[in-house]
């Protein structure tokens, strides 16, 4: 008997940004994300309500995927940021915080929504063209002849995630490995279409971070090294065959229908005969390494080993793809004896803690490498893995645009000073409205920089380069230049002639000067240019979209 349930009417929310509940949630989300921001950020323990695994993190990709809300308006912003993160893997928190602050500032300014949108759009264009322009004062050109900038870039990403719990030498070690892995995945031969390689990550829990390493080629976990005998692994080039089809000897792809077999028919042994036939062919062709993505029938394995062929089974799809790239051959999908074989330089056995791995060395240049990540516990290791993938992505983005932005909040304050110095008259808003809107935009940028500071110190900017500085809370103003040290990115040093102003106070407009080339200081924090630029765009566009939302209609059934 069916029951008719009365449909409940849809819920319509008018002007979501004026709704107190939504505003409270937005500010809670902002508070939550700001507290995670930067190297001194706080961690969040994420778990479900039935006692699932606990993740300690401050990474936007992990955090935002967990922070789903009952409120579609919040999810709109969340999804937009997550989309940016999935494309660029970096600057997620920057994007989210900037977007939320822009909304808050727009509300505080009291401007009409469409005016805010016009001003934001204009300023975004201003920022984008400044950042992409030749005389941008907060950009560093990356030099591929030296690895220094790349290590700094990697170090900035890695050290910005405190849940990895790394000491400085450890963070530096991982940064160097990340750069090394990145360089190994860039192919050198320039014939045809260049294709970036791949870094595979293997995590080893319970061992010191400094044991982490990068190897060219593939490292395959060998849980039972039962049959692996070292004599087979001589240092010679190995003719390799790769199968992606299962060689288990079963009839698994039958579909739904029934099959009638004669009682005497032994399908298993017939299939096995076929497999052995394949094995014979392969041995005849001089194959030394036989790899299958799935299971290989034990009898076939025994036969191949008897012919001193090294056998690897159950490799999995991702490793298989990399291996086919490494060996220079495509996969064989069928049980037909293949005619084309790949090449592998040699096989060695490597031991990492309790893990025994088979190291497959590429015969030529393959752009495939394996990164072994070690950490003392699983929580920190999983964060480290996420961060390393992020670093890899950030480093790859430098191939698209070989520059980086000054990190540590300096780009944000610099941009704010640049905008303040530019005046404009826009269609659709008065000069006062423009100034009000621009002030909100600049304050949003500055408050993202200030979000880096979690110890209730004071945030400052200098009046020459407009870089970002922090002043510890307990310092008297007389000793300011002594206790300031260097700016956020480490490129500007404090000196008595310098003038500072607190952020969020009025200061005279000036054109922020680029840092002179002659400085003896090394930049210490760099941000990815491409992902920060995209983050800026996503943040402003998402904020504009959110400002544009008039109604939310929610189907509650």
């Amino acid at each position: 008997m069916s029951r008719v349930v009365k449909k409940s009417p849809s819920v319509c929310t008018d002007l979501p940004l004026d709704n107190t509940d939504i505003c409270n949630k937005l500010s809670l989300l902002k508070q939550l994300l700001i507290s995670c921001f930067g190297p001194a950020g706080r961690l969040k323990q994420i778990h479900n309500n039935i006692g699932g695994r606990v993740i300690s993190t401050s990474t936007s990709s992990v955090l935002l995927s967990a922070l789903s809300s009952s409120q579609p308006f919040i999810n709109l912003i969340r999804t937009s940021v997550l989309n940016h993160v999935s494309r660029f893997n970096d600057c997620g928190l920057f994007t989210a915080i900037l977007c939320l602050t822009l909304l808050e500032q727009a509300k505080q300014s009291g401007l009409r929504r469409n005016v805010s949108i016009i001003v934001n759009k204009h300023l975004l264009g201003l920022c984008t063209s400044y950042l992409q322009g030749q005389n941008c004062g907060c950009k560093v050109k990356l030099d591929f002849c030296s690895s220094q900038y790349f290590i700094t870039l990697a170090f900035s990403v890695i050290s910005s995630k405190p849940a990895c719990v790394l000491t400085e030498p450890e963070a530096l070690h991982i940064s160097k490995l990340a750069v090394q892995a990145f360089l190994l995945t860039v192919p050198c031969n320039n014939t045809g279409v260049a294709r970036l390689g791949k870094t595979l990550t293997v995590c080893v829990e319970g061992h010191p971070v400094l044991d982490s390493a990068v190897f060219p080629g593939l490292l395959v976990d060998m849980p039972d090294i039962f049959f692996l005998n070292a004599e087979n692994l001589h240092g010679r080039s190995l003719c390799t065959v790769l199968f992606s089809a299962s060689l288990a000897g079963d009839l698994c792809e039958l579909g739904d229908g029934n099959i009638e077999l004669h009682g005497d028919a032994d399908t298993d042994s017939q299939i096995l005969d076929q497999l052995l036939e394949l094995g014979k062919q392969v041995v005849q062709d001089g194959v030394n390494l036989f790899v299958c993505q799935k299971v290989i029938h034990p009898v076939l394995q025994q036969y191949l080993r008897g012919q001193s062929v090294t056998v690897i089974e159950r490799l999995g799809i991702s490793l298989m793809e990399s291996l086919s790239q490494l060996a220079g051959r495509f996969l064989h999908l069928f049980l037909i004896p293949p005619k084309a074989y790949g090449k592998v330089k040699e096989l060695t056995i490597k031991q990492f803690g309790s893990k025994t791995m088979l190291h497959i060395h590429p015969s030529g240049e393959s752009a495939i490498c394996t990164m072994i990540l070690c950490h003392r516990n699983d929580t920190m290791l999983s964060e480290l893995k996420v961060v390393c993938q992020k670093t890899e992505h950030v480093l790859r983005l430098t191939l698209r645009e070989p520059c980086a932005l000054m990190g540590g909040g300096c780009t944000e304050t610099h941009l704010a000073a640049y905008i303040r110095n530019k005046s404009a008259s826009l269609l659709g808003c008065s000069q006062t409205e423009y100034l009000l809107g621009a002030e909100g935009f600049c304050r949003s940028l500055e408050s993202v920089a200030a979000a880096l500071d979690h110890k209730c110190g004071n945030s400052l900017t200098d009046l020459t380069h407009a870089h970002y500085w922090t002043l510890p809370a307990d310092v008297v103003e007389d000793h300011m230049e002594n206790s300031l040290g260097v700016c956020g990115c480490g490129l500007v040093e404090s000196c008595p002639s310098k003038k500072w102003t607190y952020l969020n106070t009025k200061y005279p407009e000036f054109s922020p000067a680029p840092v002179s080339k002659g400085t003896h200081l090394q930049v210490r924090v760099l941000d990815s240019f491409t992902s920060k630029l995209s983050g800026l765009q996503v943040a402003v566009e998402t904020a504009n979209l959110a400002l544009d939302v008039q109604y939310i209609i929610q189907d509650t059934n």
């Binding site: 719990v165 009839l251 077999l261 260097v486």
Partner: protein, 641 residues
Amino acid sequence: VMLGSTIINHRQHVGLQKLSALAEITRSSLGPNKNYKFIQDDTTGESTLVCSCFRILESLELTCSVGQVVYETIETHHRVYNTGSGCLLFLAGAWSHAALECLHRGISVRHIISAMSEGMEICLNVCRQCSISIKRREVSELCPFNVSTVKDSHAHQQLTPRASERPFNLGPQKKLKLSRHFRESESPSISTIHASQLCSYEPFFPDIAHIAETLSHGCTDAMNLVVKASQMQSECNQQDIAFDVTKVVTCVLPGLVEEQATVLPGCVVLVPAEQASVAHHLKEQHLKVALIHGDLAATYRHLGYNRPKGIQSVSDRLDLSRLSKEDTWMEKVVTLLLNLEVNVILVSGVASEKVIECCWRRNILVVEKVKASILKAFAVSTGAIPVTYATQLSKHCVGTGLKVSIWRDLSNNDRKRGTAVNITTDGLNCGLVTVILTSSVHAKLQTLEDQFWACAYRLHWALKDKALLPGAGVTEMVCIQHLQNEAEHDIRNPTESNGVSSQQNKPRTPANPYRDVVLTLMADGLKDYICTVMVNTGVFSKVGARAAVIQHLQDYHGTVGDVAAKFSQLFLHTDTCYNATPTSVESSETPAIKTYDNLCVKQEVWRKALDLVFLVLQTDAEVITGVDRKTNGAQEDLMFL
């Protein structure tokens, strides 16, 4: 999906409080005298007797997020190191207490972390400096003629900076004292001989025994078994120092008194009475063996084989006389086994009843559920090749030289468990050694096994490190002194940029104004650790231990070298447990340090403990996914997104 989040109050960090409270459970399981704990499950009425920190945590079902992070860390550590879990949790608690105290005093998280990291560097440095190379110990302590010189050379050498990095570069005068070989010939050429060469003059077994004894930490019986195992391995490998912990297996036999614990070469399996008769028949013979990696049954298929669905068998005639598939298979297998003259089959999975019975009638011993590591060891030592299906067996898959003997008939105690059969290979054994652990109290077996593995791994790590740390709280004592010295240095020179570990090349990093406070509190955590161990020995009261430690630190203020040597005296004179079995080398009036710790384990434990504190300290909120507002709406500390 809903989300709740709790913001942890800044000054009363709930997470740290939880961590600190959780660490209390390990208080009584520190040190050599451990107390057992009963853990009872109210819902099932089951209870377990536990002794180590790891087992306690394993038995408790921790639901809070901090608890889970703690358990995860301890579990990982235990899996790799097998020892030191209690120390890890205790120090995590002690240092989280220190971090709480810092927060109370208004010190920022960043300052706490930077100062504690520096403190950790200081402690790890102390470990490196205090570590004693095993090679040198062998030379010095082996020599029975110069008991008195051994003692004082130790007290000084262990604290020389970077002593471990130059273990063989001793001054000439010291060398003269170290070994009788130097006395006999005082030519300068001899003094340059590598110390390891000297070692070859001495028999090696007492060395391992000696090292092991200092690492027993109160578990003398367990350590004796470890030593026996290592001796057995050395004999068959013909190696000088051999202890391969991966080739040791334990076999737990309840019902026998603890004194019957022993070490046997090869492996020990329990077989039922019928199988035992086969074993009787086969003993004192050279046997042929087949190794099956999988189940021994007609229906068994290898891993990853998908049984076809929807297959119907049709037949054109009714043949009742035909043998079933299983019978055909059985006949094939038995014929094969008889042709190959196999006497013993070791199976990693299970064997079907029918097969066992069939083999029994033909005097073939079938042993089920053999560990993969044992299978592998026998593959190496007999030349057998493991196969998945019995039908795969061929001449070159069969190994030779296996021996079977009956270790003990347990059937009169308990009919089902039958007989303990010892399977070995004659001639060169593969180094596989079985340690039989026995107890008449069933509940104690787990603890005995844990203690054995803890001892085995302590020896394993010591040989791997090739170094030891002075134990019985001595290293901790030196750390306390170093930490306090650093803190005092700060108080005396407040304006100066922070001491040793701050890097010179950094452009004017603002000094950490709270470094002294944090370092002192960290030292207090270590003090608490030492005091707890002293109290647990049963000799000191809580107050007494504290007073003794403080007094000692004051007495030897500024003289880092002495604090260690003299402290160990203080400790050892009162602690009967450590003195339980004095060796010939150490006479009663020369209390050289007799308890040692592992270098790498201690360093890892400390680091991991601090990692836990940092993880929890830096966490300010908990994000709970999937919270239903209706059911949890009443909870005040939850905010919903």
